[in-house]
Symmetry: C2
């Protein structure tokens, strides 16, 4: 039994090679599912499974009948009203980011909610426009319908352009919905895991910068063409600053005032969170106030400010997406689909953990996909969820998506009835309100310093993502960032720390020999540790490090030995060497001759194992050789490779590893692999790794097992006649190590231990009492 | 000392936590170089370093003065002559792949050789055109100057188009040379490691398929437009088969005869390799014969076959690359630069290993870069090395690049003097000769089956690379394949095998508990092993697996406990519960009430550690609770995480891990991390991983150390009064395990061992002799 001995670690067992261990401890034969089994299971069909899938597809069937009407309806209504008002304002504001008339933002806030009510699995997120996503749609819109055509714009021209832009936004939304739906059906919900926290943080910060820059034109009332090429942000800024003298002062002043108010009140909301019954709805107040002022002062005519103007009343007839546009925005749609889903899912997850209910990534994809398809058909633009709006829905007491559907009702009322009230609102007010939400995202800049101190790679990912997304644009930037991030995983594994280990403290612990003074290295043994998986990208690195660690290139040594053998054969033939019982004796005075030129066919022979069967004597490469014959001095006889961190080994790596090990084996160096994970032996066997030179018996359970095996083997080799004449028990640093330099059958030793144990049984209490 | 005891593994030492081990074994303070140190060292300048760099830049300075003129010059001349003839033929044949007049292939075979002679580090490769690379250049050429413009071609029109095509080929070659030069200067020679064997194999097979398809039009003499869009290969085949009835029978017959002869003779060359003094130069023989027949039979006029025609005589004046074309072929140039280098480097490496001399990847990049810049300026196309031609150069005795420069001389002679002799040669003969070299590449299809059995991932990489390169084109295909390959590395680590371990054989060995019958799991302890690095893409997977393994969600348990506490407080307040020495006693009959609704602010409280300081009694969650209060039953008290395979942990993962561990700690489960690699503790400390709840003392050296620590702690907890009353030594399966259920100071145990050792010293020989 494993039982503690005070604070001591006491173990005595046979030295286990992998083979011996498997012999002594029978392994259960387990059936491991193959790829096909998994596939079959996945596609097998049973009534239960169908029912489960159907229920999963319509989560509303599960939650609506269980709705606790009395308890929940009131808070859902309150939450729905609040969220609805925020949704209206955000819809209008984010429509500016899309570069379409503000009214279309209301459609984006309305339709997806209806779908999510039926298909969504999160109870707390508020579905609708999201600034980053709006900006991404906006970028596509501007690329396909650029401003500069409108440069000489009459009002007629502008409305035509707007119509085209709405069409592009709707089409790209539709297409991204299709992608989301497909991903959901194909169960690709797991893709979000490739967006790490650092990447999302860098990306949203970059998006905030884009929002900031794109809102400048509304705040200053300048006509800035859109640029959606790489480095577009620089062109935009250039364009803004070149016309800065044309700024509309009234808009600028309004923007600054609104920004100031919003920031101050939001700061207060944060600071006095605990004391306030609910956050001050500052956006709503500012909007109402600004609309009233604008209407009564008649800002539009007096100061020539840009106002929202007449909203589209009611709904537009649904349209089929334009095939021509579809082709041009495939790439954009994919990135919009992924970013939209990733943002919504991460927000939904926060609430699912907080309130402890399950959400399903694939079902969320389906819900957002259908939502965007519907929204796109009705000329809305891509929706996801805004963190701020979901925060409102949850903090004002929303319990289920009933709150969501009520907020959609509010949006509906604005669309069909009271939209005209917003007509006099300045666009610059909306722009400022959109900017007011960016503070949190921009504050993420602080993370760079923290990350640099904690993990250089994560920091580099953040910075790369940010720079790529700012300068290359959000879509190309995202792709670049993801590719870069995958590369960092490879790079992290690619330059593993390869160290030479030594025994520390004379027990079974092996550590980097450079780190400790109290170390013991068995003579002629190198213990080499590679601390990462080994695969195509680092196997050469591994090989080089191993060769550096042992201090010689095995292939070169092998060739020199084979060359020496050829020479010896030649000399024996010529009679220049004579075989005596003491070894080879040189009969002729040796005259230096240059290395013979080898022809190309014979060079391969040098890579074969040294063959001495035709020689009358075995040559000991470590002993003195006949004059004129030299081979490199090899001072080790065994190498132990610690593979405990090698979590996988690919086929390319295996080939090179096999070749390298073979080179060592051919110059009579024993190779041991210690600590390999379970299944490693089977894997190697199935790949035909083993042959006559490389045998499965090289695998040992731990480094210490391998070291003991080597010591015993060497002991036997050096003193074959010694037989049970010496036993030493030495006690060192609280550790018993037993040493006897001989071959003893297992039974002998076992008996020996039993006797020792009996003796101790009597002795120990006395000794212990004496100390207490 | 570590010495073997027969075949036994005997260890006794203190139980080591990471902290205790570091206390007992002083760690040397080593200065680890920072990022900036490396940078400084890299850019520091010394006269030696400058000299070394200069010598490295011109390898010829090192090898030419050491040239053994007498020994080597003859074989170099023989090799040069042979290689030169092959180079001429291949130059002409591969020019067809580029879609330029054959004569330009000679420039590609000439100029880069001059540069490589000075700058190259390999002694055996033959620099010049390479079919895959020619094909890649050809794809660009066809894209920028499509055939269909030439559809209605007069001879005038065709020559204009040819001129333009030559210009495109030269420009893309020039640009790829610039990229190679840049990569070489920036020391990016390591990029080749990202091209794994499976990837290169799949890619070259795909290239062979492209070559095959592209040569059809010459073999059948059809005018097929070039398609360089994704799926271009399908369009090409469609075009070929739609006009198959227009085949020129004379060309088809010639092609088939040539192909047959070449295949048979090459097969014979292979089979009788040992017996033949040199391979039969079948290409040369066929060419001479075909040219003679064509000239005397006058095939061109009689059968309307396409012949090479008049070659450009002499050299063209060098031209500056066309800026307009440059812009359009940046992507192609990058892939040509990388593929060209990768192929040449891998061939060079084979010879460098065979003949044991160093080659330098970065210097090779510089050599090929300069070669392509020069070649492009003189209207050549991209060069690398052809495996077959390098084989000729090496097997006919080439020792140094002197052979290369001689082969360039042969090409020069053909260019300036005897090119007219080749004029009557049929293009279909050249096409067949090019195809004759593909057999080896196409045979690589066999690898798919082998790879599938040995490593599924490598097989998938091969197939993906092949399909991508065939259908998407070589450039996009290569990029896709590399990205996919990086993804596989991530995926391999992404779904680590997470297993629950148990003690096997009652010693210090822990294995998957499902695999063995003879297992021992300490009560209440879970040993969990994750066999891969943990990073953003698998941390959630790790968390889920851990929760599944322990059987409960710690956060949920914590919340239930906190809810139960609230209820108990309420009941105590109401007097429904009374505190007695035996525990809490319920005074009221319990009436069921539904779970109280929690308002949103209070839900966070539930995630805090359970706080019982205000209660008059500590609550034992395992004992019976007052009626109506239930908490989930937790049957474990300790979790050991085996981190020996976790080669790195990124910052995203660390955050989630910290949160997860905290959840366990808050429900009073002890967490231990065992076997973490060196430096792990420092890393965690620098990332502020530890706090009041998660302490560095959780790290133990091995699983067994942690298990012993837990057993001792639990022993103390369950029998606090037991004091040095019992010692047991039990012997089991050849292993000593010592157990005593008590607190004993280290000194006591040490003495105990010393006494035991002394006793054994006397006893052992007797016992051993008795057995011998």
């Amino acid at each position: 039994m494993v039982e503690p001995v005070g604070n001591h670690y006491v173990v005595a067992r046979p030295v286990y090679s992998e083979n011996l261990f498997n012999e002594e401890h029978e392994k259960l034969h387990r059936h491991h599912k193959t790829f096909w089994d998994h596939l079959k299971q996945y596609f097998c069909c049973s009534p239960q499974k169908v029912k489960k899938i159907a229920l999963g597809l319509f989560p509303i069937i599960s939650w609506l009948p269980a709705y606790r009407f009395k308890e929940w309806i009131l808070s859902d209504i309150v939450s729905g009203l609040n969220t609805g008002l925020v949704a209206v304002l955000q819809g209008l504001a984010f429509a500016l980011l899309v570069n379409v008339p503000p009214g279309y933002g209301l459609y984006a806030a309305f339709f997806p909610n209806l779908v999510y009510f039926i298909f969504g699995t999160s109870r707390h997120i508020s579905v609708g426009p999201f600034p980053v996503l709006s900006l991404m749609v906006g970028a596509t819109v501007v690329r396909l319908v650029p401003d500069d055509i409108a440069g000489n714009g009459t009002s007629m021209n502008i409305s035509a352009i707007n119509e085209e832009r709405v069409m592009v936004a709707a089409t790209v939304t539709f297409l991204s919905g299709v992608f989301q739906l497909l991903l959901g059906i194909l169960q690709f919900g797991f893709i979000v895991i490739y967006l790490s926290q650092s990447l999302i943080s860098g990306f949203t910060t970059a998006a905030a910068v884009h929002v900031l820059v794109s809102q400048l034109k509304f705040m200053l009332q300048l006509s800035v063409p859109g640029f959606n090429t790489p480095f577009g942000i620089i062109y935009t800024l250039e364009s803004v600053f070149s016309q800065i003298s044309d700024t509309n002062i009234a808009d600028l002043v309004t923007s600054l005032i609104v920004l100031l108010i919003v920031f101050v009140v939001k700061e207060m909301n944060d600071r006095y969170k605990a004391k306030l019954p609910a956050p001050i709805p500052i956006e709503l107040l500012v909007t109402v106030l600004a609309a009233l002022i604008s209407y009564y002062v008649n800002l539009e005519e007096k100061y020539n400010v840009a106002v929202i103007g007449q909203l589209e009343e009611g709904f537009q007839v649904p349209v089929a997406p334009d095939a021509g546009i579809l082709q041009k925005c495939v790439g954009d749609s994919i990135s919009i689909a992924i970013v939209g889903f990733a943002v919504a899912f991460s927000v939904a997850k926060v609430y699912s953990i907080k309130y402890d209910y399950p959400i399903d990534g694939n079902q969320e994809l389906i819900a957002f996909g259908l939502g965007n398809i519907l929204g796109g058909s009705f000329k809305g633009f891509a929706s996801s969820t805004a963190l701020s709006r979901s925060g409102v829905q949850e903090s004002t007491g929303g319990k289920t998506q009933i709150a969501g559907i009520i907020s959609a009702g509010i949006v509906l009322i604005v669309i069909v009835a009271i939209g005209f009230l917003l007509a006099p609102l300045q666009k610059s007010v909306l722009a400022s309100l959109a900017l007011g939400n960016l503070k949190g995202m921009l504050m993420q800049f602080k993370e760079v310093g923290i990350l640099w101190r904690k993990d250089k790679y994560d920091c580099v990912i953040w910075v790369t993502t940010f720079l790529a997304a700012v300068f290359l644009g959000l879509d190309i930037g995202l792709a670049t960032a993801v590719a870069f991030q995958l590369l960092t995983v490879v790079i992290r594994s690619q330059f593993p720390s390869c160290t030479i280990l030594a025994n520390v403290g004379r027990s079974d612990i092996y550590r980097n020999r450079k780190d400790y003074t109290d170390i013991y290295e068995p003579e002629g043994v190198k213990i080499f540790r590679c601390s990462s998986p080994i695969f195509f990208a680092n196997i050469e690195f591994f090989r080089e490090k191993l060769i550096t660690a042992v201090g010689f290139n095995p292939l070169r040594v092998l060739r020199k030995r084979n060359k020496a053998l050829r020479k010896i054969r030649k000399m024996l033939k010529k009679g220049e060497l004579q075989v005596t019982p003491k070894g080879l004796i040189c009969m002729a005075n040796y005259i230096y001759e240059s290395d013979e030129e080898l022809d190309n066919n014979r060079i391969e022979e040098l890579d074969q194992p040294t063959n001495m069967t035709d020689l009358p004597i075995q040559i000991d490469w470590g002993a003195e050789l006949p004059p004129g014959i030299t081979v490199p001095w090899v001072d080790i006889h065994s190498i132990i490779l610690d593979f405990s961190s090698v979590s996988f080994l690919d086929f390319s790596a295996m080939r090179v590893l096999q070749k390298t090990l073979k080179e060592f084996v051919r110059i009579n160096i024993d190779i041991y692999i210690a600590g390999a994970h379970e299944g490693f032996l089977d894997k190697l066997e199935s790949c035909a790794f083993f042959d006559e030179e490389i045998k499965p018996s090289m695998l040992f359970l731990t480094i210490h097992d391998a070291v003991l095996h080597i010591l015993m083997k060497k002991d036997l080799a050096t003193s074959p006649k010694l037989k049970l004449t010496e036993e030493r028990w030495s006690s060192n640093n609280g550790a018993i190590t037993i040493s006897n330099g001989l071959r003893s059958r297992q039974g002998t030793v076992r008996l020996l231990f039993q006797v020792a144990a009996l003796q101790l049984k009597e002795t120990a209490p006395r000794a212990a009492q004496g100390n207490c």
